[in-house]
């Protein structure tokens, strides 16, 4: 896969009172992800070509991908394909990249969601709804020991857009 074809569609930056190592651990372990990522455990093989899997709290496959960059604790890039029929076939793969940088006593975490084709704002609204909640909760978890309880409604605008494209959702 040619990463240079992917263009950033959504960028979210958040600063956290933590260390790069702890932020890396939070992004790559199920123990942490369950707490801040709507109960979903992450399972990632930390090597280029390794598998990236996110399951739902009841263990069903939710998101899958492949690792393209793995430079702990600085950079992690993997595909992030939600397991809905025809989604990736129609919209192409989703690429997610995290950059972790020291910024004084804080850590700057930048998440970039990229796509290899232009997608409209309706489709992108799903990620734009989810990322701020997930990463706000990750920050709270690392700073206070407790995640946020974010009762997120379904991403209706995106679901409606997928329906118009004939893409089935659960």
């Amino acid at each position: 896969m040619d990463l240079s074809r992917f263009k950033p569609a959504t960028v979210y930056t958040i600063y956290i009172a933590s260390t790069p190592e702890k932020v890396w651990q939070a992004l790559t372990t199920a123990e942490f992800s369950r707490k801040y990522f709507f109960g979903n455990p992450v399972d990632i093989e930390l090597r280029v070509g390794g598998a990236f899997i996110v399951r739902t709290p009841d263990g069903a496959l939710h998101i899958s991908g492949e690792v393209f960059e793995c430079d702990p604790p600085r950079k992690l890039t993997h595909t992030f394909n939600v397991n809905w029929p025809a989604l990736s076939e129609t919209l192409g793969p989703t690429l997610v990249s995290y950059e972790i940088e020291q910024a004084g006593q804080a850590v700057k975490l930048t998440m970039t969601e990229s796509h290899d084709r232009p997608l409209d704002d309706d489709i992108l609204s799903g990620g734009r709804q989810g990322w701020p909640a997930i990463l706000s909760s990750l920050k709270s978890l690392l700073e206070t020991g407790e995640p946020l309880t974010v009762q997120m409604a379904p991403p209706q605008r995106m679901l409606d857009a997928l329906k118009r494209l004939g893409i089935g959702t659960p």
Partner: protein, 153 residues
């Protein structure tokens, strides 16, 4: 080409009243906002200024909306020469109760063509609002040096 617009959403474990106070009280903003003190009587149409630690004005504009504790909007632009081709752009804060949290949405829009100020605010807001969230949730602002934001020249 699409007009530049900056949108940032964050979820904070606090109340709308406390968040409102944090966004409008100079003693509070000084703690998390790179030492900036906001100066205004907060009447719609009144002047709005950001003061540096030494009391000099860094940014100036006008109050556009003040609907406590739901919506706050003001225009501002940095008054240094670097941004002489810029004009005041509109920053709107929307505070929504969200379960035990508050969802804060900032939209900053209305920048001049080829705005340099847009680069500045796009790098500044994530640091300021992250530090605001830390201050409300832990009592401690973040220690981020201004240089770490890496503004364009």
């Amino acid at each position: 080409m699409r007009k530049p617009e900056f949108v940032y959403v964050t979820y904070i474990e606090t109340t709308p009243e406390k968040l409102w106070e944090a966004l409008t009280d100079a003693d509070f903003t000084e703690r998390y906002w790179f030492s900036a003190r906001l100066k205004s009587d907060w009447k719609v149409g009144s002047s709005f200024e950001m003061l540096r630690g030494d009391g000099t004005v860094s940014d100036a504009g006008k109050v556009v909306e003040y609907d406590r504790p739901r919506r706050l909007a003001y225009t501002f632009v940095n008054i240094s020469d670097k941004y002489k081709n810029d004009r005041p752009a509109l920053a709107t804060f929307v505070l929504e109760p969200f379960g035990k949290l508050v969802k804060l949405t900032l939209t900053h829009e209305g920048f001049a063509e080829g705005s340099k100020f847009f680069d500045g605010i796009s790098k500044g807001w994530p640091a300021i609002l992250s530090s605001l969230k830390s201050t409300l949730e832990t009592g401690k602002p973040l220690e981020i040096p201004f240089e770490a934001l890496k503004f364009e020249d």
